[in-house]
């Protein structure tokens, strides 16, 4: 696994507070986060992430190189795409009523990383990410959703599950242990 995509919106801060501190620094994968939020000047997300992540945090800019062991996040009001070995941004129209859109990140990343990609859908309103998870599955990657009953807003994980595009639904605190285990079992298998 080389690339982990995380998508969330409503209730996301709560879920990330649990999930982020569990991510081990030095994880041999790049992580990219799409968090739906208002395109306001005072974006509080960078500080929040710095506070809770043990991995170095970086806002993805135009052509930012993708490096393992770092947590990237989509800037407010831009779509984030994976393009070869770097990120790309776009201001095309909203997708699933969102910009940044989880679908856009997941679809473009799945194409580049294929089997080496893991997608995570956390709590959130709407159904963004459901199509992106289908793309990850089609490319041979793995998908995880937060168990809807534990989500502040269950509709996003539910939409992905209803799309039959989720391999496993887990409570937030179990997601990182799962991906670490999966990472190392994969690693030993070659």
């Amino acid at each position: 696994m080389k690339f982990i995509g995380i998508g969330t919106s409503l209730g996301g801060t709560q879920a990330l507070k649990t999930l982020l501190p569990l991510l081990p620094p030095g994880l041999p994968a790049a992580i990219a986060l799409v968090f739906h939020r208002a395109p306001e000047t005072n974006d509080t997300l960078p500080n929040f992430l710095e506070q809770h992540s043990r991995m170095p945090v970086e806002e993805a800019r135009d052509k930012t190189p993708i490096r393992a062991g770092r947590l990237y996040f989509a800037p407010a009001d831009y779509h984030l795409l994976v393009e070869g070995d770097h990120f790309a941004l776009s201001t095309e129209a909203e997708v699933s009523y969102a910009r940044p859109s989880i679908d856009v990140l997941f679809e473009s990343a799945a194409e580049v990383y294929g089997k080496e990609m893991l997608g995570i859908i956390l709590t959130g309103a709407g159904r963004d990410g459901a199509e992106g998870c289908v793309a990850i599955k089609r490319a041979g990657g793995v998908t995880v959703a937060q168990t809807p009953v534990t989500a502040v807003c269950r509709s996003m994980p539910e939409a992905a599950l209803a799309n039959d595009a989720i391999d496993i639904a887990l409570d937030v605190e179990h997601i990182v242990p799962f991906l670490v285990r999966w990472q190392y079992s994969k690693g030993s298998a070659g």
């Binding site: 000047t41 052509k63 795409l81 070869g84 941004l89 201001t91 095309e92 910009r99 679809e107």
Partner: protein
């Protein structure tokens, strides 16, 4: 010329190796074909219509091509290529899909605040001011600038050249008509950007739409211009090119940066998009930062 003795398959006699390679090739085939199709389509569009998207950043152009394939109710990029070459109406729809970027009035309010606080005082020293907004899309940010210049008492000295590669979008921008319900959010942007009046002073509301007043448009010159294929057409005091370069690959970015540089007077000012930067461009050393956070630069040599 290919020598016939060399054209023999070097793998003949090594069947196992060959079949392994074929399996590998089959796995990669669909991706490869897609990339070939995209290349052919962009080459064809360039040869036939002169629009050059060959050095656009691949991820987003691929998304938009597939979007167009679905809109046209086709099944493959090759089928779209055929329709594009034989049907110019399809080409217009394609061009629209490729050039739509959704922006807002006073997008990134800090950018406009810096314009008011740091760019305007410099502009006051010039008797006549030429501004180029390159890649103006549907015009929201052009009107933002016009409003600001009017409030600062500079508008009558300004000629504001607003260009886009797409004439359909340019016509929309020229009309200056926007959905009224969006104006509420824009009003907030306008105030945070340091607006001195009310946004409602600049437009007329009618049938659920907001139409910008004629006196805001009088010094704006709308014109079709393609940053990829057209050259410099004047020397400007200010150039805005926001969220356009993100769609280009590195080689094209370098080329367009040179074009922008050559279109600025010495001490002319360049405003880029929030996530863009002059760093790593070939012209980096020729600019000084006026406000590196809000992406305002000044040509210093």
């Amino acid at each position: 010329m290919v020598d016939s003795s060399n054209s023999q398959d070097p793998l003949i006699g090594t069947n196992i190796q060959r079949s392994n390679q074929q399996v590998l090739r089959l796995e990669q085939r669909n991706d490869d074909i897609e990339n070939i199709e995209i290349k052919l389509l962009l080459e064809g569009v360039y040869l036939h219509y002169g629009f050059d998207f060959r050095h656009y950043a691949p991820a987003s152009i691929k998304r938009r091509i597939w979007h167009c394939v679905r809109e046209e109710k086709l099944n493959s990029i090759s089928a779209l290529q055929e329709r594009l070459l034989y049907n110019s109406a399809c080409m217009e729809r394609f061009l629209l899909i490729l050039s739509i970027n959704v922006t807002a009035l006073f997008r990134d309010v800090g950018f406009y605040r810096v314009f008011r606080e740091k760019i305007v005082p410099r502009l006051r020293t010039y008797p006549f001011i030429r501004i180029w907004h390159a890649g103006c899309s549907s015009g929201e940010e052009v009107y933002s600038l016009a409003i600001l210049l009017q409030e600062e008492g500079l508008y009558d000295r300004v000629r504001l050249y607003a260009t886009d590669m797409n004439e359909v979008i340019l016509a929309r921008a020229r009309d200056g008509i926007y959905p009224l319900e969006k104006m509420m959010a824009y009003e907030k942007n306008y105030r945070s950007a340091g607006g001195k009046k009310a946004l409602t002073d600049y437009y007329t509301a009618q049938y659920g739409r907001a139409i910008f007043h004629g006196n805001l448009k009088k010094n704006i010159v709308w014109s079709q211009h393609n940053l990829v294929t057209d050259g410099s057409f004047n020397e400007f005091h200010v150039i805005l090119c926001r969220n356009v370069l993100i769609y280009f690959d590195q080689s094209l970015q370098e080329r367009v940066h040179k074009l922008l540089y050559n279109s600025l007077i010495t001490f002319g000012m360049l405003g880029l998009g929030q996530m863009e930067s002059i760093r790593f461009s070939p012209c980096e050393a020729n600019y000084g930062a006026i406000d590196s956070l809000e992406k305002w630069y000044s040509k210093i040599r």
